[in-house]
């Protein structure tokens, strides 16, 4: 359970005021560059040549956008930052200046994602000096043959070395591992888990491979469920991960996230707790209250006016990296906007909070009973308990073991409390 008050993150109380905050609690920058595209990846990212000037120019363009938003005051309560990708470490010398531009708005936690092959002790040191506090390394597996199958460009030795270098650098270190992948066995999964634990990381995220449309895996396997990715295999691996990671003193605090207590990723927690955030760069999403959205409109006037019942807006950057470099002004971005009313916003928060070990706080359940008919909320809660997906503990609705594995059942029920369609616009 994440003790909210002890994290230092900006996590406001669960009351109506949360839905009227003007500022954001966290800030995200998307870096859409990679050395090569992995077989499973459906993120906004593309293979980039080492001598391509685009990444450095992109980093400068994002820094300029950050300065533009500073004038709005939206960053006022901001406490955490995250540079994700893609491969932020691929920015090399352009990374520290970008980190420096984000750092003033991320006094509590500033993470960046890295790949073993583009990380070095030197880069780690310079990024730490620029203000980063945490690095998340995409290891995925420590089996050479599995890494080849995934289309990763690093080997297991380099991956583990990079983890040790990162631990030594003084940053908090997280690593990503992937299960239910080609060639993986129960034993090899166990080895991957133990290997990364042995390197001293304090945070591990585990994901079953999802074969997404548009990826090389999709073209190879299509919609058929390959044996290595069968839902039973996924369940076995997730259960094995829970056992091994828990034995080593990590605690599961979200569906896929394990940490030594106190080492949770506060930035990610803000996504699951209804805290507004701003996202920069291609495909990045922002979540704002009506008040925050109106403030952002001050610098991005192309954004459509919100209707009277809009309580929350989610804004996604549709411009490509090249377009952002060509014209970084926020007013020139192509954006897509989703407008949610209060009931939809609350339902979304219920759905996301249920991903956390801490579950849904009583305050949020109370708000839900105001935003949606109380009887419907109560019915969903009791159905979730009856089906063994969740239990009520001290006023919180907490997921059970089956609630972890069968999360979509639980989240679907909760999101079902929303009504109507979500108004989506592009501009």
């Amino acid at each position: 359970m994440v003790p909210e008050e002890a994290t230092g993150a900006f996590v406001p109380a669960w009351d109506r005021a949360r839905y009227h905050l003007e500022g954001v609690g966290s800030l995200y920058v998307h870096v859409p560059f990679c050395r090569s595209k992995c077989a499973y990846c459906d993120f906004a990212s593309g293979a980039t040549r080492a001598d391509d000037p685009l990444p450095a120019a992109y980093a400068r363009a994002i820094a300029r956008q950050l300065r533009e938003v500073e004038e709005t005051g939206l960053f006022e309560p901001c406490r955490t930052g995250y540079l994700g990708g893609g491969t932020p470490s691929l920015l090399g010398a352009a990374l520290p200046p970008l980190v420096r531009a984000v750092a003033p708005h991320a006094p509590t936690e500033l993470s960046f994602e890295a790949n073993p092959d583009s990380l070095s002790p030197d880069l780690l040191e310079r990024v730490r000096e620029a203000g980063a506090t945490r690095v998340s390394i995409g290891v995925q597996s420590t089996s050479a043959s599995e890494l080849v199958a995934l289309g990763r460009i690093h080997g297991p030795e380099r991956a583990l070395e990079a983890l040790r270098e990162a631990v030594t650098s003084g940053l908090r270190v997280s690593c990503d591992l992937m299960c239910a992948i080609p060639r993986q066995t129960g034993a090899s999964w166990e080895r991957s888990l133990r290997n990364v634990l042995a390197s001293g990381v304090s945070h591990v995220s585990v994901y079953p491979l999802a074969i997404e449309e548009g990826t090389a895996f999709w073209r190879r396997y299509g919609e058929e469920e390959p044996e290595f990715n069968a839902s039973d295999v996924q369940a076995d691996r997730m259960e094995a991960a829970e056992a091994t990671l828990t034995r080593s003193g990590l605690r599961r605090y979200e569906v896929a996230s394990y940490a030594v207590p106190g080492q949770e990723c506060l930035h990610n927690v803000s996504y699951w707790t209804g805290t507004p955030y701003l996202g920069f760069g291609t495909s990045a999403a922002s979540m704002l209250t009506r008040e925050g959205y109106l403030a952002l409109r001050g610098v991005a006037p192309q954004l459509p006016a919100p209707g009277d019942d809009v309580a929350r807006a989610r804004v996604t950057v549709m411009s490509t990296a090249r377009q952002i470099v060509a014209d970084p002004a926020l007013g020139s971005l192509r954006l897509s906007v989703e407008f949610l009313d209060l009931r939809q916003a609350v339902a979304e928060d219920l759905m996301l909070s249920a991903r956390l070990a801490a579950g849904i706080p009583g305050g949020l359940l109370g708000l839900a009973r105001e935003a949606a008919p109380a009887s419907q909320v109560d019915a969903v809660v009791s159905r979730a308990c009856d089906e063994g997906l969740a239990t009520l503990e001290g006023g919180r609705l907490v997921p059970t073991h089956s609630g972890w594995l069968m999360g979509n059942e639980l989240y679907g029920e909760l999101w079902g409390l929303a009504e109507g369609t979500i108004d989506t616009r592009t501009c």
Partner: protein, 603 residues
């Protein structure tokens, strides 16, 4: 006897095997006679229902009047009576033909004579119609009109020297066809002073004017204001208007001898106007009704249940609304433990059933579950009584049953000789018995066999098509009731018997069916939070089993800021899928599970 001048009237139907191009030719006739301007011409104008147009089939009869200026300079009134092309609607076809003096027999120049060409031609000949053969699709490279002419002569015994070569697609030959109709089809005759005698070909419902009957006047005349009577059903009504369709309703002062048009009855109760009934004057009825009337008897029965029980009333209203346009539909309330309240609905055949279900769902926004189709069984009990059973649930306890009889059909398949063996095997597999076969020509054989209707309504037709590469055509009629060793196969989901999944099957096939059905249901029923055993049972004896294993994991592990919209949409999609399922106990069962019996491969 006073005669009116009917020499410029021609009443004819266009008859054809399905897909031979009947509706396209009708469209061309409407176009060429300027009944419908080209810009207004929707493809297949006469097929007014969406489903008719989409599937390219005709379900309802329709009569349109067109005026044709012939090469002799005279205007002729053509009443073009479009008829259904499917074997389910043979009775409707026969009534339409009874209203005509002639028939255009359309034969596809690439396919030649097929089973329903033969049946329709026989119906037309029995009705003593003048037949104008039209060989269609001559624009296609694979057309072989000379061979088709020979088939028409040899297989149908219809002189083919007057055959008209046409293309519904390009319009070629349509003018020749219209001229042929003028010269080959006899004008109607009748007594204008005699009491009214008009045959009902079809009817449809208008919310404001009630039931509107499409009629052919044989004797007398119909004027608005007359008090008229249905001869078979006995109801009387005040004629509220008459007219003809061009193709929009065009009121006229009178419908006289030989004319085809519509009568506004003002009757609102469904079932009062029946195809085949005779309309006459209430005060001065005609001596004899038009021959051939009988109630269209439903052959196939299925349970229709709303997925959401709150839609029960809506389903009943919808059935009533459809009934006024489709008097052959019958239904009675049925209750299922698994599915709640619904109706046991009777249809003329499987196509009729599919069409009605689709119309209910589409035109009335209902979400329905249809259960396995059944036939009308005669159950003879040990106490000497006989029960007519159309639902497996109504079958009495085995100890009370002396024997069961089931309806048999006389069926006819026309197929190239190469496929005779395949068809014979298929007939045997479906408990049928081949009676004889006749070579119609060197490239087609007509096979006759007896087969239980219950077998035919499962997958017989699909299998016939696939085993003969689509060459076979099928036609059938009711034969008689015969004793069979039938049992009820029950299906249990998670240990609970699901009444809506039960069906009646021959004992010899019960084991295979039970195994096939358990396997099919295992494919159809999605994994649940718990394991779901599926069992097939006869009485208390379990004869087959399969298991849907519990779903262990369903969660998208990654869900950060940029993933939330997508995640939400995924959950919504899952929810949409669930809405189309029925909860039986704790098990979510998709609609198609209830028709799984139609999809069990018998090999």
């Amino acid at each position: 006897m006073k005669t009116t001048d009917t020499s410029h009237i021609r009443n004819f139907s266009i008859i054809a095997h399905i897909d031979h191009g009947k509706s396209t030719i009708s469209d061309r006739i409407l176009e060429l006679t300027h009944t419908v301007e080209e810009r207004d011409l929707e493809s297949q104008m006469l097929d007014s229902m969406d489903i008719e147009r989409e599937r390219g089939i005709t379900i309802k009869s329709n009569a349109v009047r067109v005026t044709y200026t012939a090469d002799d300079g005279q205007d002729y009134d053509f009443n073009l009576i479009d008829t259904p092309g499917h074997v389910d609607f043979t009775y409707e076809v026969s009534r339409s033909l009874a209203a005509c003096e002639g028939a255009v027999l359309v034969v596809d120049a690439t396919q030649g004579v097929e089973a329903q060409t033969v049946s329709n031609a026989n119906l037309a000949m029995n009705a003593d119609l003048d037949i104008v053969p039209a060989i269609n699709k001559i624009d296609l490279p694979s057309a072989h009109p000379e061979e088709v002419k020979r088939e028409i002569e040899e297989e149908l015994a219809i002189p083919a020297e007057d055959s008209v070569l046409v293309s519904g697609k390009t319009g070629e030959g349509i003018h020749d066809l219209l001229e042929a109709i003028v010269y080959l089809v006899s004008p109607p005759s009748g007594d204008a002073d005699a009491p009214l005698k008009a045959l009902i070909l079809d009817s449809y419902f208008d919310e404001y004017r009630g039931i509107i009957a499409t009629v052919r006047v044989f004797d007398g005349q119909i004027r608005p204001g007359a008090r008229l009577r249905m001869m078979a059903l006995g109801d009387t009504f005040l004629c509220d208007g008459v007219g003809v369709k061009r193709p929009l309703e065009t009121p006229v002062d009178v419908l006289g001898v030989g004319e085809v048009g519509y009568v506004v009855t003002g009757l609102k109760e469904p079932g009062l106007v029946k195809t085949g009934d005779t309309i006459t004057e209430d005060e001065r009825p005609c001596a004899e009704a038009c021959p051939g009337y009988h109630e269209a008897k439903p052959m196939v029965f299925t349970g229709l249940f709303p997925i959401d029980n709150k839609q029960y009333e809506n389903l009943r209203d919808a059935l009533e609304k459809l009934h006024v346009n489709d008097p052959s539909l019958t239904w009675e309330p049925e209750t299922s433990v698994a599915l709640g309240f619904g109706f046991r609905v009777g249809f003329l055949g499987l196509l009729h059933m599919e069409v009605v279900k689709e119309r209910l769902e589409r035109e009335f926004s209902l979400d329905l579950i249809a259960t396995s189709p059944s036939v009308n069984y005669h159950v003879y009990c040990t106490d000497g009584t006989m029960l007519q059973i159309t639902s497996p649930q109504d079958l009495p306890d085995v100890t009370r049953i002396d024997h069961i009889e089931e309806p048999y059909l006389k069926a006819k398949v026309i197929v190239p000789p190469d496929f005779m063996g395949a068809v014979m095997q298929l007939v045997v597999d479906h408990r049928g018995e081949t009676k004889d076969m006749v070579y119609l020509s060197e490239r087609s054989v007509e096979m006759h066999f007896d087969i239980p209707l219950a077998e035919l309504i499962l997958d017989f037709f699909d299998q016939l098509k696939s085993r003969t590469k689509g060459y076979a055509s099928l036609d059938y009629e009711f034969s008689d009731y015969r004793t069979s060793d039938l049992v009820r196969l029950d299906i249990l989901l998670a240990g609970e018997e699901v009444d809506a999944l039960s069906f009646i099957v021959h004992r010899d096939k019960a084991y295979d069916m039970a195994r096939g059905l358990c396997d099919k249901l295992k494919e159809i029923i999605p994994q649940q939070l718990f394991e779901v055993p599926i069992q097939g049972a006869i009485g208390n004896k379990i004869i087959s089993r399969s298991t849907v294993r519990a779903r262990r994991k369903d969660v998208l592990a990654k869900c950060y800021g940029g993933d939330i919209s997508r995640k939400r949409k995924l959950l919504e999609k899952q929810k949409e899928g669930k809405k189309r399922m029925k909860s039986i106990g704790r098990v979510e069962v998709p609609q198609e599970a209830f028709l799984a019996v139609l999809k069990v491969d018998d090999d």
